[in-house]
């Protein structure tokens, strides 16, 4: 798929670990492994870092989505297998799995976009932000990767509905105080609920304190939505808590369509993450921050950390085959697209890498066993995520550049089963030219049509979609509405499969970007995998030296957040 320039052979050709793909999980593992002294080779078939977490220019994003979408050309035009020099191994060809489907990209003002095309850093796995207190920040601080990224705050969060009005999410006492859409009683109820949660959290950290209120065990096991009802919170506030603070996807009131009914325990954990995020860094405006130059900066930061610790990087280098021991069927190494064979103890692969079913038939049981994690599973719940990217002129809310908008289930149309999240980012984050914004949208779905429909509904709620027939009628509409909605310049819609990671002893497969707003689960699963891979060894344990600690304290815990 990519022209491979002639590469000098890699030296050495033996490693403790080979990692293929530079997504967040792969990069965390590469950094952790190199920090603990393992020799690591980190490969990526693409010419950029980040794999499915990359931030790309508009043309690069377009071509990446097209080349990784369904119905790809029959198999990579790789040369026929050169006979293996060493007859101790058998080689198994690898097949690229497509993560994306229903890719549809349209440009409405090509000239302007072409002029600025290289000034975009558009995320593949948007919308995604960092919670100040989430695991990814902890891991960055622990590993030292924080030295390579700077963040900015997301200015505001809103809840939207079909009326087009965006209401502030009252997520702190100051926000509740200032909120104009809540009644006084609602303010009182919401604050009381927050205090209950805080007091519960405090009581779980200070064991001796009997005065603090604790939520009962029984309540903790009950559905979160029932607990909120029990606290006599009105529907409006319940919806804000469930979808705009706990960031749930499925309609918790609808037991038929809800794939994941959250327990109070989990709900409290999610609120705790939000609440601790709010107060963690004094120069962050709220709970959410975003890396300047796009989310692709995060995997890159871990890669840099890994490189400092001796990890070897080769981009534009796909692997074409796995090498298995003829006798034992165990994993031995990989064959690169350059033809070179590289050996390692262990292998970690990008979720796109699979083996073709036809090649499995000729293998022994033991060999099949080794490759089991690479066999595409037919999933029972084929959950997908629909994503959308819009480049717009103007902003969805006056005077706000970086903002999160949540449409709770059923808020836009009655059949809306899942929450739709929209993240608007501006030129201040160096992701687009001035006076433009990039909008990321996502929603979970069972099939492509359902997901795309939901995203289009949210889009038309926020921005004026160009009417192709007649420009005049368009301008008339604009005159009618007192508020002019932002104008769409470019749009990408696609549906991404949600692939789970799998640990398979020597060969492990990593997960695809998940449907969450943050990196918490991705990073947690990476940490778990590392522990399995390396025994119970702790990640980055030697990184925090006392000297670093003191500078971190002065620097707000070491994370650079621009005001």
């Amino acid at each position: 798929m990519i022209d491979i320039p002639p590469y000098p052979p890699l030296d050495p050709s033996n490693y403790d670990l080979i990692v293929v793909g530079t997504g967040v999980s792969e990069s965390v593992l590469a950094a952790a492994a190199s920090s603990s002294g393992s020799s690591v080779l980190h490969l990526d078939p693409n010419p950029f870092y980040g794999s499915h977490f990359a931030s790309l220019s508009l043309p690069d994003l377009t071509s990446f989505l097209h080349s990784n979408s369904v119905s790809p050309p029959p198999s990579p035009s790789s040369p026929p297998l050169p006979p293996s020099n060493n007859h101790d191994f058998i080689s198994v060809d690898l097949v690229n799995r497509s993560l994306y489907s229903s890719v549809e990209i349209s440009s409405f003002e090509s000239e302007i976009l072409e002029e600025h095309s290289r000034r975009f850093n558009v995320d593949l796995a948007g919308p995604r932000v960092v919670f100040c207190a989430d695991e990814s920040i902890n891991l960055m601080l622990k590993s030292g990767a924080n030295n390579y990224v700077e963040f900015k705050s997301i200015d505001a969060s809103f809840v939207g509905d079909s009326s087009g009005e965006l209401r502030n999410v009252p997520d702190s006492r100051a926000a509740i105080f200032k909120d104009k859409s809540l009644t006084l009683l609602e303010k009182n109820q919401l604050m009381k609920f927050f205090k209950l949660v805080q007091s519960h959290l405090a009581s779980s950290t200070e064991k001796d304190d009997s005065t603090t209120v604790k939520i009962s065990e029984e309540d903790m096991e009950s559905p979160f939505v029932d607990f909120l009802s029990k606290m006599r919170l009105p529907p409006k506030i319940k919806s804000i808590i469930l979808y705009a603070i706990a960031m749930l996807d499925y309609d918790q009131d609808n037991t038929e369509t809800c794939r994941h009914l959250l327990k109070t325990k989990e709900g409290i954990d999610r609120l705790a993450l939000y609440i601790t995020s709010m107060g963690r860094f004094s120069n962050a405006l709220g709970a959410l921050i975003y890396p300047i130059y796009g989310q692709g900066e995060l995997p890159q930061a871990f890669c840099r950390r890994a490189a400092v610790k001796g990890c070897i990087y080769v981009l534009r280098m796909p692997i074409t085959a796995l090498l298995l021991d003829k006798e034992t069927g165990g994993y031995k190494g990989v064959r690169l697209a350059s033809g070179q064979e590289i050996f390692s103890q262990k292998l970690i692969l990008d979720p796109c890498v699979t083996v073709g079913l036809e090649s499995l038939s000729s293998l022994t049981d033991q060999q099949n066993e080794t490759l089991s994690v690479l066999v595409p599973k037919s999933m029972i719940n084929k959950e997908k995520i629909a994503r959308g990217v819009c480049v717009i002129r103007g902003s969805v809310k006056a005077n706000v550049s970086n903002a999160l908008v949540v449409y709770p289930p059923k808020s836009l149309f009655p059949e809306q089963l899942t929450a739709i999240r929209v993240l608007q980012l501006g030129s201040g984050l160096a992701v687009c030219p001035a006076d433009m914004h990039v909008l990321y949208l996502s929603t979970l779905c069972d099939n492509d049509d359902q997901g795309i429909k939901a995203l289009l509904s949210a889009m038309s709620n926020l921005i004026s979609l160009p009417v192709p027939e007649n420009r005049q009628s368009d301008s008339v509409v604009e005159n009618d509405t007192s508020e002019t909605k932002p104008i769409l310049l470019w749009r990408a819609l696609y549906v991404q499969e949600l692939v789970k990671g799998e640990f398979g002893g020597t060969i492990s497969s990593m997960p695809s970007p998940d449907g969450n707003l943050n990196y918490n689960e991705i990073v947690e699963s990476a940490v778990k995998l590392y522990e399995k891979l390396m025994g119970s060894e702790e990640l980055f344990k030697e990184e925090t030296s006392p000297a670093e600690n003191t500078t971190e304290e002065e620097n707000d815990g070491g994370v650079e957040i621009e005001d």
Partner: protein, 687 residues
């Protein structure tokens, strides 16, 4: 400080080294200071010292001296400016060390007051202060520390700079809005500053600050703070202040009197005890001295009541108005004023059976600045009854609180049960009434909260004062009962408020009042009000009780007789079975010149304890004992101060208190102080 635990010093050696360095700095500095050395090096040394320890007050004096000595030498404006900048820099660094250093803030003020031609920097000064205060509060406002700093010094300094720069109050009000909305809505100082600015703008009638709109706007603003975090008191303070403004702004001076407007008073001559007068419907007043009091009760303390401001349109002349308070002149502020009208059946004006007396008031100023300009008049009628001869023995019979009472069978009470009358026009009554109504509705929705209940009770009480229809008392009493259960810590306060509401409830309507009214057969059928067994801990609504001559407050929880001084007609008072702890708590009884019967039995009255500090504000008791030429035993000092003014006291019951009030010693003391006493503790004194 302020109950926070001091953390253990993690590094004692370092601290010791620092202390050593500081000590050497200090001694160097002191030697410079004493020798008046103001060289550049010496000044730098003092600056260094101040930045390390801004609390060293002497060190703030030195730069002031240095500053003045340097300016004497040469006064080139640019040099002055550079010296001032230097000084301001030192202060700023010192403040970074300790934001609450008095010395530093004061020095900054001093430096700024030194320049005349230095105004351009004042703009910066305000800007600097803006940033500084925001930062300081922001730092403190994270949830962990949860108590935003109360940096009075910075706010105080701010007012100074604002005055210098002539910053408009509107701008400053916006600044408080910014602080409250963007930084934290729990900053006491910001709310307080806001109240100062708002009241000044309202007083000035500034554009957009009419009382009605301003109060509504501010109420809506502070609601959000209260409902969001109901346990944060900063908002409540502002709210209560606003409520006060709502109730009191432009409020008229109100008053009640005895005799009241339109009433008929029957006067009997001396010694009318036990006179078998058949009068039932009207107030009968008996006087031994041939005079009766005219009582004026105001709801705010007033001064200026004299024969020129309050005139009587009848033949009675030369009235002497006296405040019912410890000081006796017309300039003193008092709620109750009394004048004695003499009547003598032989005088021509009283020879008629009926006389109308017109009283007009004008030129009275209340302590709250309410000035009564338009005169107010009221009229009452006097009827004179001929003197009835009474047997002496009967006159001296004991007054019993158990028998001899007839139920009240009279509906003509309404004239005596007058509530307060407004003396001047009430301009904002409608909007204030409406504002209170809105507030009541709102706080009814906040039922579970302690502070919400308290505010609701106060609001309901405020509405009652405004429209007095008596519909809220039941709810108010329930609220205070709930509060007593919820918050035992402030039990006494709630109990007091409960008592106030209860008395208001009783006195609000004729029907409820008449259940507590009786006539005492053995004493000319005088009116007796029995408020016994009601768990009262405080007396209130005396403005409605001015006509009462006999009052039973036994079996309550009273701590003091405060408030009773207004009831100038009182001749029999029962305070037995209460919680009075000393004679000084009975001090207000001194003003009841008509008092003949006093029952204070079964209280907790002690001789010397508890120490009552208010007594030191009065003239020394020793000088009093000198006056009368009597030695008063120390343990009876307080008793003496009260009893000596009760010249008409015939019956005293003090059983069931401290043992020092039982026995021969006390008995002989009392007989000396109160010569007219006949009955002591139920026993007739033998002369």
């Amino acid at each position: 400080m302020h109950g926070r635990k001091r953390e253990e010093d993690p590094n004692p050696e370092e601290t010791a080294a620092k202390a050593l360095e500081l000590r050497s700095l200090q001694s160097q500095f002191m030697s410079n200071h004493h020798q008046k050395i103001y060289t550049k090096e010496a000044i730098q040394l003092s600056a260094k010292l101040l930045i390390t320890n801004p609390e060293f007050y002497t060190a703030w004096n030195y730069p002031k001296l240095a500053f003045e000595s340097r300016l004497d030498e040469d006064s080139d404006p640019s040099l002055v400016n550079s010296i001032i900048d230097e000084e301001l820099g030192v202060v700023q660094n010192a403040l970074e060390r300790n934001v609450k250093s008095y010395g530093a803030w004061y020095h900054r003020k001093w430096v700024l007051s030194k320049k005349g031609h230095y105004y351009p920097s004042l703009e910066n000064e305000l800007q600097l202060l803006n940033d500084y205060q925001k930062q300081a509060h922001q730092k403190q406002d994270d949830e962990k520390q949860d108590d935003p700093s109360r940096n009075f010094h910075a706010w105080n300094y701010r007012r100074f700079v604002v005055e210098l720069t002539k910053t408009s109050e509107e701008d400053e009000l916006q600044y408080t809005t910014d602080m409250i909305s963007d930084i934290s809505f729990t900053i006491y100082s910001a709310w307080h500053y806001r109240s100062v600015l708002v009241s000044s703008l309202v007083a000035k009638k500034a554009d957009g600050f009419m009382p009605k709109e301003t109060i509504r706007r501010e109420l809506d603003y502070v609601h959000s703070a209260i409902f969001t975090l109901e346990e944060k008191q900063s908002g409540w303070f502002y709210y209560l202040w606003l409520l006060d403004q709502t109730v009191k702004m432009e409020i008229p001076l109100r008053f009640s009197s005895w005799p009241s407007d339109g009433s008929i008073i029957i006067l009997s001559g001396p010694d009318c005890f036990n006179a078998s007068s058949s009068t039932t419907k009207l107030t009968t007043f008996c006087s031994e001295s041939g005079s009766f009091p005219l009582i004026l009760y105001f709801d705010q303390a007033v001064s200026g009541v004299s024969s020129s401001t309050v005139t009587i349109g009848s033949e009675l002349k030369d009235l002497v108005w006296e405040p019912v308070s410890d000081k006796k002149n017309s300039q003193v502020d008092s709620c109750v004023w009394v004048a004695r009208l003499k009547f003598d059946c032989r005088e021509p004006c009283f020879s008629r059976k009926e006389t109308k007396v017109k009283v007009s008031l004008g030129g009275i100023v209340s302590s709250m600045g309410c000035n009564l300009t338009a005169p107010y008049e009221f009229v009452f009628t006097l009827r004179i009854h001929d003197t009835v001869e009474v047997e002496l023995s009967q006159q001296e019979s004991i007054v019993s609180w158990t028998d001899g009472f007839d139920n009240w069978d009279d509906n003509a009470l309404s004239n005596d049960l007058n509530s307060l009358t407004a003396l001047n026009a009430d301009t904002g009554f409608e909007w204030r009434k409406k504002a209170i109504k809105i507030e009541i509705e709102l706080f009814r929705t906040l039922p579970d909260s302690k502070i919400g209940k308290l505010i609701l009770a106060r609001l309901l009480m405020a509405e009652e004062t405004m429209i007095s229809n008596g519909v809220h008392y039941k709810e108010i009493l329930q609220l205070y009962n709930d509060l007593m259960a919820l918050d035992s810590w402030h039990n006494q306060y709630y109990k007091d408020e409960h008592s106030v509401a209860l008395i208001h409830k009783v006195t609000s309507r004729t029907e409820s009042m008449s259940r507590h009214l009786f006539r005492y057969r053995n004493m000319n059928n005088i009116i007796c009000l029995r408020l016994n067994n009601l768990t009262l801990s405080r007396i209130a609504a005396v403005e409605k009780l001015l006509f009462v001559q006999m009052l039973d407050l036994s079996h309550n929880e009273l701590h003091s007789a405060e408030g009773l001084e207004a009831m100038q007609l009182l001749c029999c008072l029962n305070l037995s079975h209460n919680r009075i702890r000393s004679f000084s708590a009975l001090d207000s009884l001194r003003h009841l010149k008509q008092l003949r019967v006093l029952d204070v039995s079964h209280n907790h009255i002690c001789g010397e304890l508890p120490v009552d500090t208010t007594r030191y504000l009065c003239s020394s008791p020793l000088s009093n004992s000198g006056e009368t030429g009597r030695e008063v035993p120390n343990k009876y000092q307080d008793a003496y101060l009260v009893l000596r003014d009760l010249m008409k006291l015939k019956q005293l019951d003090i059983r069931g208190n401290d043992l020092i009030f039982a026995g021969e010693e006390f008995s002989s003391f009392v007989r000396q102080v109160v010569p007219k006493l006949v009955w002591l503790d139920g026993h007739k004194l033998t002369s």
